[in-house]
């Protein structure tokens, strides 16, 4: 992107202001965490004492799941592939409904029974604290999510570099250090306060950009016809075969139920009234963001037909139609989308390591003081490793990213969904389903057995394989223990779990 020097300074200034606000939140939440009693520290840190209201839960899910994809990658594909892709984007608009309506109530009750602090806690307790389930979970969570977080930072810092002209490392510092401060020192409290600012900035950025762009594009019909003349594929759904479009809907819509950073808020909401309101609020936010942003990616073609990097569609559009300081707000919106996802993911990784690795395998009898220190040290260490990895992205990173979200989704979807709603599912079925789903996904995605995709995204076949394995293997092996069935289906916890 060619950006005039003066514009760069204004964009940079607006972005700094946004960063300063987040820094304030970081300091505030760190202070407020210091006041928390030692015994409640871990509970407060990971799930904010299960007291979160509707707006925060709505935004945690919406902004947590909407990452750089919604602001950069998604519109970029709208620009490069066309409206067929934008249609697939619609699949995610009801993510709050899918997560909260699908698993919210059940997890809300079970999490209180077993005192779950992490997504993996729910699975591990359900599957008899089986060490293989635990180990598989910890490994896949740390590797996949760690790589994903790193890639989000890399994307954000590159965008910062090209919009402001300042060096990559400075972008990385500004993008990441604030998150590290409010996540590592403020925990869920920091992340949930920040997400309100981020959600607000994202919404302002989207609305301003949409109406400014529409103003420039009028009359709309001739703008769209112009795009159709560039390449008819850009405005036809038939660019993708219906079965491929279907698989994209599964990837972006359905599997949100099993993504740990999306499910995280179900551990934190205060009561079911807040949960139901969170569906309403979340639906409004995500419909606005998705519809407007991904469509705009496509419409950018009419104004700027020859972008070298399609992912720059939204930033380039912003620079074309908005005054400089509002362009800075759009950059802040992108940053917000990235940081909110990253914040949630860092908490997931940290909770996984502390709860499901340290407490489960290394030191089951840790004292409250030890747990507090381990929680802090782990979270800071994760942040430091991710920062270093993003500073000089390792080659393996891109390889892991290819498998990250699809791999997570295809290994967790059925073990989670069936575990919550089908009493007969047991640990043998879960292990078979987790491994089977992931292996199938890798075989297809890694182009070893591409034919198994049947013209769709590999996730569909992987999900089918994983689901069948959970069911068949569970039925062939003993039913789950009475303790588990009582806790997850019965009327109460039999004893201290």
């Amino acid at each position: 992107m060619e950006v005039p020097a003066q514009l760069r300074m204004i964009i940079f200034g607006t972005f700094l202001l946004y960063t300063a606000i987040l820094l304030g939140i970081g300091v505030y939440s760190q202070r407020s965490m210091q006041k928390v009693a030692l015994a409640n520290y871990v509970d407060e840190f990971y799930t904010a004492g299960r007291g979160m209201g509707a707006l925060v839960v709505a935004l945690m899910i919406a902004a947590g799941l909407c990452s750089a994809g919604t602001f950069l990658g998604g519109p970029g594909l709208g620009y490069a592939v066309g409206l067929a892709w934008a249609l697939a984007g619609f699949s995610q608009v009801f993510m709050n409904f899918c997560v909260l309506g699908g698993v919210g109530k059940k997890i809300g009750i079970v999490a209180r029974r077993i005192k779950a602090q992490s997504y993996l806690d729910i699975l591990i307790h359900r599957y008899e604290r089986n060490p293989i389930v635990g180990l598989l979970g910890v490994l896949s969570m740390v590797v996949f999510m760690g790589a994903y977080v790193t890639s989000q930072f890399v994307g954000g810092a590159r965008l910062f570099e090209s919009m402001t002209g300042f060096p990559y490392w400075l972008g990385l510092v500004l993008f990441s250090v604030v998150v590290l401060i409010y996540a590592a020192f403020g925990g869920m409290k920091g992340v949930s306060l920040a997400v309100i600012v981020q959600g607000l900035v994202m919404t302002i950025a989207v609305l301003v950009l949409f109406f400014a762009a529409m103003g420039r594009l009028m009359p709309l019909e001739s703008a769209i016809r112009k795009i159709g003349q560039l390449d008819p594929k850009l405005i036809s759904p038939w660019t993708w075969k219906p079965q491929y479009e279907f698989s994209m809907w599964v990837v972006f819509g359905l599997v949100t139920i099993s993504l740990p950073h999306g499910v995280l808020p179900t551990l934190t909401y205060k009561n079911t009234k807040a949960m139901r309101s969170a569906i309403v609020l979340g639906t409004v936010f995500v419909v606005l963001w998705t519809l407007m942003l991904i469509w705009m990616g496509n419409l950018t073609r009419a104004l700027i037909p020859n972008l070298k990097v399609p992912d720059h569609a939204i930033p380039s559009l912003a620079m074309t139609v908005l005054p400089p300081w509002l362009t800075g707000v759009v950059l802040a919106g992108v940053a917000g989308a990235i940081q909110s996802t990253v914040g949630a993911m860092i908490l997931v990784i940290s909770a996984t390591i502390v709860r499901d690795a340290y407490l489960a395998f290394i030191n089951p009898k840790a004292t409250a003081q030890q747990l507090k220190s381990v929680t802090q040290i782990t979270t800071i260490a994760i942040c430091a490793i991710i920062f270093l990895a993003a500073l000089n992205p390792p080659k393996a990173l891109e390889w892991v990213i290819v498998f990250a979200i699809g791999g997570l989704a295809s290994s967790y979807f059925f073990p989670m969904l069936l575990g919550l709603y089908w009493w007969r599912a047991n640990e043998y079925g879960a292990i078979a389903g987790m491994v089977g789903g992931l292996v199938t996904y890798m075989l297809i995605k890694g182009k070893i057995l591409p034919a198994l995709a049947f013209g769709m995204d590999p996730i569909v076949t992987s999900l089918v394989v994983s689901g069948l394995l959970v069911v068949v293997v569970s039925l062939l092996t003993p039913q789950p223990s009475k303790r588990v069935v009582l806790t997850y289906f019965g009327k109460g916890v039999p004893e201290e779990m």
Binding site: L220, R424, S481
Partner: protein, 108 residues
């Protein structure tokens, strides 16, 4: 303790928490609505979007299929909001002994 680890018991002897039955029904409704949304969106888009692009009809400046997909999405947004407010029920999240009447279900 020993009894709780048992894997030999009759599931019909375990009382199912009525809240979990509600949660189960709501999950089915959620997935059902989402699948319906997907099917309707895809059918609308792929039928209205058939044929050569330069002969598309336009509604409010948009190709008819795209306009249709937006209308379907907004329509389902209203349904989702309605369901969350008037169909989904409130339950107590903690296990208080006073709450929830006892239901013994032999069929489940």
């Amino acid at each position: 303790m020993k009894d709780l680890d048992s894997r030999n018991y009759d599931i019909r002897d375990i009382e199912i928490d009525p809240r979990f039955k509600i949660a189960y029904k709501e999950m089915l409704l959620t997935l059902g609505v989402w699948f319906l949304f997907m099917v309707v969106s895809l059918v609308v888009a792929y039928t209205l979007g058939k044929g050569p692009v330069d002969q598309y009809t336009y509604v409010l400046g948009m190709p008819a299929w795209w306009f249709g997909a937006i209308v379907v999405t907004l329509f389902f947004a209203v349904i989702v909001i309605y369901i969350s407010q008037f169909v989904f029920t409130d339950v107590e999240l903690t296990d208080e002994p006073t709450k929830a009447p006892t239901i013994r279900n032999r069929n489940n």
